[in-house]
Amino acid sequence: MTDQDLRQATQAYAVRLGDDALILGHRLSEWTSRAPFLEEDLALQNVALDYIGRARMFYGYAAELSADGRTEDDFAYLRDARQFSNLLIHELPRGDFAFTMARQLLTDVFSSLYLEQLLRSTDATLAGIAAKAAKETRYHLRRSREWALRLGDGTDESHARMVRAIDELWGYTHELFELDALEQQLADAGIGVDNAALRPAWLKQVSAILTEATLRVPEDSWVVRGGRTGYHTENLGHILSEMQSVHRAYPGVSW
């Protein structure tokens, strides 16, 4: 690979990671004023803002690498669903509180392992973003783990909702550990993360938490994939139409 190819691949990689963070952050932000109680409302907003901040850093870097005048806003607001490359698990509707916390648990464990590797990236900017994000994720995981225990080992109702949430999410977790050619090239070059290698550690940690929460680990009986190639669930279009509406109605507006 030439330096130019590597630069292009890194740019696409930064957009992917930005998409993951933006879409999950947006989903979390939908809880604003709707959380079970005030304290949790603020906590969820904090986590949402961490993700949106992370998206800005990745998009900012992607814009810098493309060097064609695009800014972070172009990536967030001016692309359609087919051009978004987030993993599908991030775009699923927020569901009930158990579903949101179950998704946070599964993705927080993944993020903590992923960022630990991205910290060692030979790309100084990606490593820098990972260093900041890893601290946030340690706190996110603390929260989602606590909630998994409280809800799983709580009332019959909360337990049943957690079981349902984990079952509904499980088939979307496999995509977290798949690499396409671009990601493989970057992993080989020491820039990107070999996420396939993270699954044993992820499964071990997730299983331990689920067991402690009196929840069972689902069978690997179904898999959904497509996010990285732009094949999304119908939910992404709805997110984008809401998230991008102001920017599309008033291009370049600021306040």
């Binding site: 304290e39 603020l42 906590a43 904090n46 603390r142 929260r143 606590e146």
Partner: protein, 94 residues
């Protein structure tokens, strides 16, 4: 889980060397959760380096009605203030 969450008082130390100051209260299930929410509610703008939480029910407070017996008696005891005493000439600084 209980139907009603407990009330906790939150104390934040702004910087090393300063005391913890009472900043407000919040609802939580237990101490661990109260500490996490205190972080989210009261230190969002880097207000602190240390947080204490305590169940509001565990605070024993003086009552307004008791103020006469609690605080008034010290009003007529000026000798408890250092300024009541004349410094001898020989003592320059104290």
């Amino acid at each position: 889980m209980k139907d009603q969450l407990d009330l906790f008082e939150v104390f934040v130390r702004a910087r090393r060397g300063l005391d913890h100051k009472h900043v407000g209260s919040l609802h939580a299930e237990d101490h661990e959760q109260a500490l996490e929410y205190a972080r989210d509610v009261y230190t969002r703008r880097s207000e602190g380096v240390s947080i204490w939480v305590v169940r509001s029910a565990d605070i024993c407070a003086s009552q307004e009605d008791d103020s006469e017996s609690f605080f008034d008696p010290s009003d007529d005891k000026p000798y408890r203030h250092a300024t009541y005493y004349q410094l001898p000439e020989a003592v320059k600084n104290m």
